[in-house]
């Protein structure tokens, strides 16, 4: 039942999409980052938060919690993402993916003891990741400006709106008994800490390197466009024709 806070967030998301639609368009190869100054402030905050909190906590977590237990937490968290994937699959008329995600959710919830284990994965039934940012893309919403959000990291106006909608509409909140509502949140946070531990070297090489703001922005957008299956942009320059890449 959407309370006033929830509908407030929904409105915020819709406003973000509308604002995104009005954001200045950019040419090919150019990054749409009109809020760069604010984004850089948020980036500095995120980097400091990572150095002082997330990275040390993840190291403590990774070193004190045994691998199988960490995997169990991660599986449990990922299992809870599946209903939301399926919801977005339906919104995008991707019914095969919806079936795959529902089947995986049912199978792992039952045979993987609430999703702690991943027997479906072992049988070749992987998750088909999805989110409302992608739904907005499929529906034709423009990407809008690049954003870096405190705690959340890199995003775009469209993706941030999608994240908010995914949180508000997450079917798990309606499936889970009310008194257990903290469990999914706790599992997601622990899984995120676990990921920070697992990809420590990769994340450090991006986040704690010179030019980390531009680097993260470029990598996020390239990867996101790739995941969305956006039409590939022609290579921005040919190093043999133009070695200095004006």
């Amino acid at each position: 039942m959407p309370g006033p806070r929830r509908s407030g967030m929904l409105w915020a998301a819709l406003v973000a999409v509308t604002v995104g639609a009005c954001a200045p368009k950019t040419g090919p190869g150019l990054i749409n980052d009109p809020y760069e100054a604010q984004n850089r402030e948020n980036h500095a905050f995120n980097v400091a938060f990572d150095s002082h909190v997330l990275q040390p906590v993840s190291q403590a977590y990774g070193k004190s919690v045994p691998g199988p237990l960490r995997r169990g937490v991660s599986n449990f968290s990922q299992n809870l993402d599946l209903p939301s994937y399926a919801l977005n699959d339906i919104l995008q008329a991707r019914f095969a993916s919806a079936g795959q995600n529902v089947l995986r959710f049912a199978f792992n919830t039952v045979f993987g003891i609430g999703g702690i284990f991943d027997p479906a994965g072992a049988l070749g039934l992987p998750p088909a990741e999805n989110d409302f940012g992608r739904t907005l893309y499929v529906w034709g919403a423009p990407e809008g400006a690049y954003l870096e959000v405190p705690f959340l990291g890199p995003s775009t106006q469209r993706d941030l709106a999608g994240t908010v909608v995914d949180i508000v509409t997450d079917p798990v909140n309606y499936i889970f008994p009310k008194r257990m509502h903290n469990y999914p949140t706790a599992a997601h946070l622990a899984a995120r800490v676990g990921d920070r531990y697992k990809y420590n070297s990769l994340i450090n090489s991006i986040l704690h390197a010179p030019g980390s703001y531009q680097q993260e922005r470029l990598i996020y957008l390239e990867k996101r466009h790739h995941d969305l299956g956006m039409p590939e942009q022609a290579p921005t320059f040919d190093p043999y024709e133009d070695p200095y890449g004006k």
């Binding site: 030019g211 531009q214 990598i219 022609a234 043999y240 200095y244 890449g245």
Partner: protein, 201 residues
């Protein structure tokens, strides 16, 4: 007599020309199959290195040898340095390219090391712009597979790859940003950047 000479000359000229064409052919011979063969060799080498059980330092040395053999490191280095390459002296470019090769091997060697126990398979190859793109899929343990694309050109005189696109992320573009930011931090001092690159990655 004269006509004989002319005929010989003509024949020599024709054969000579054919010889020149023949010599030039290897450089022009890059096609889908050759590009694919190059990446097949690279991928076999990567698979061998990551599953060899060698130490990190040994693997970095092997990756450096791999880059030196199969990648057009000078063009990657020059593109990564960008406009600053224009005002660099030849000696600086040589030093930069060498330091960059080590940096590249450590940085991407570290990423490839995360593939231990997994493998890469070439799936497709086709012409793209003025070069060839070869697609491969990396299958790692406990992770969904992702695609790894290689850009191959023969413009250096040999068939070499000059870019990798890892799950949509373009190495050349990433390194331009990275090297540019490092150079900014060194206040545009190329020699300082070279010194720094010798241990970076």
């Amino acid at each position: 007599m004269a006509s004989e000479l002319t005929r010989r000359r003509l024949l020599a000229g024709v054969f000579g020309g054919a010889a020149v064409v023949g010599l030039a052919r290897p450089a022009l011979a890059l096609d889908t199959a050759a590009a694919r063969a190059l990446v097949d060799a690279v991928v076999a080498e990567v698979n061998r290195i990551i599953n060899s059980g060698a130490s990190e330092a040994q693997m970095f040395a092997e990756f450096q040898a791999l880059f030196a053999k199969y990648a057009d490191v000078p063009i990657i280095a020059r593109a990564a340095l960008g406009i600053a390459a224009r005002s660099a002296s030849p000696a600086q470019m040589t030093a930069f390219t060498q330091a960059f090769e080590g940096y590249l091997s450590r940085k991407y060697g570290r990423r490839f090391r995360e593939f231990i126990g997994g493998k890469i398979q070439v799936t497709n190859a086709y012409p793209l712009n003025n070069f060839y793109e070869v697609d491969s899929t990396a299958t790692l343990r406990g992770q969904p597979p992702f695609d790894l694309r290689w850009w191959v050109s023969n413009k250096s005189g040999r068939d070499l790859f000059f870019n990798m696109v890892i799950d949509g992320v373009n190495m050349l573009a990433t390194e331009r940003t990275q090297i540019g930011a490092m150079l900014d931090q060194e206040h545009g001092n190329l020699d300082a950047l070279i010194t720094r690159l010798k241990t970076a990655g």
